[in-house]
């Protein structure tokens, strides 16, 4: 894989945090640490794009803290959808109305599998 050189100036206090984290995470090089930090930030951005919040949850499953940063708040969810009109025959509308009024079939095995793939 092609690599690029990267250089950064860090405050001395940040360097202490960096070294402590590298030790705690057993990450051997700064390049490796940066790659992992990048992957984590990338994941956070993707989750925000999906309209999700990033929270910590305690052992009981209760949300105890939400991660909110100005940078992540700038990530807009990718959910603005345009509106499209479609042509319906009267028979289609009536058929939909009839089917939608009925009690709906339970989720199929395929649907359950699809929705639990995450």
């Amino acid at each position: 894989m092609k690599t690029v050189k990267f250089q950064a100036d860090l405050a001395s206090t940040d360097e202490v945090v960096l070294n402590t984290l590298m030790e705690e995470l057993e990450v051997r090089s700064k390049a490796d640490f940066l790659a992992k930090a990048l992957a984590l930030m990338n994941w956070a951005v993707k989750e925000k794009k999906r309209g999700h919040r990033i929270v910590t949850i305690d052992e009981q499953g209760d949300v105890i803290r939400e991660l909110v940063t100005p940078e992540l708040e700038r990530v807009a969810p990718e959910f603005e959808l345009p509106s499209i009109s479609t042509t319906w025959t009267l028979q289609e509308v009536e058929s939909f109305g009839e089917l939608a009024s009925e009690s709906q079939p339970k989720p199929t095995t395929h649907l359950i599998r699809a929705m639990n793939r995450r």
Binding site: E78, W88, L90, T109, L111, M115
Partner: protein, 182 residues
């Protein structure tokens, strides 16, 4: 193979995409980005980014739509604004490159589409996802609780819908408790 699903980007490689349907291929290659820029539709692409540029191996398009009020029973229209149709989502297209078919990528795309709809439904109030399916794809959609609407003007464009309440029920249900739709 690491697959990511996100909005289609101009740098994505679509040139060799081939799902076996010329119209769906052409849409991705020629119109998807244009429509996205003009807000006529949003295309979400399954991309493989092992080597840049990311290669599109599947996609779907999603938009808001509405179902005409005339002909709908009152029980469905109850509580909806009188001046507009019943709000719904439109899954315009869904396609997977032939070389990647049979690997559940269509299911992954559909599950992401459902996820999008459920998230947006929380703020927009739409309850149904509609699609215009090719006849050959009807049985595939039925596996995921889509129901066939009869009365199409064009026999190769069959409207189907799924109630997003059923999709929401499926989340976290165990597969063993499922029933198969007939």
């Amino acid at each position: 193979m690491d697959i990511n699903i996100r909005k289609l980007e101009s740098s994505d490689r679509t040139t060799d995409f081939d799902c076996g349907d010329a119209q769906l291929n052409e849409y991705l290659k020629r119109y998807a980005l244009k429509d996205q820029r003009r807000m006529f539709g949003v295309t979400y692409a399954a991309v493989c980014c092992e080597e840049p540029p990311c290669k599109v191996i599947g996609y779907y398009t999603l938009a808001n739509t509405s179902i005409p009020r005339q002909g709908l029973p009152e029980e469905i229209l109850k509580g909806t604004p009188k001046y507009q149709g019943l709000p719904a989502f439109l899954l315009g297209r869904l396609a997977v490159d032939k070389r990647y078919q049979g690997k559940d990528i269509g299911e992954v795309l559909l599950s992401r589409c459902f996820e999008h709809c459920l998230t947006i439904a929380k703020v927009s109030g739409a309850r149904y996802l509609i699609t215009d399916a090719r006849e050959s794809a009807v049985s595939w959609y039925e596996r995921y609780n889509f129901r066939t609407i009869v009365g199409a003007a064009n026999p190769d464009s069959i409207k189907m819908f799924v109630d997003l309440k059923v999709v929401a029920q499926a989340i976290d249900m165990k597969a063993s408790a499922a029933t198969t739709m007939h």
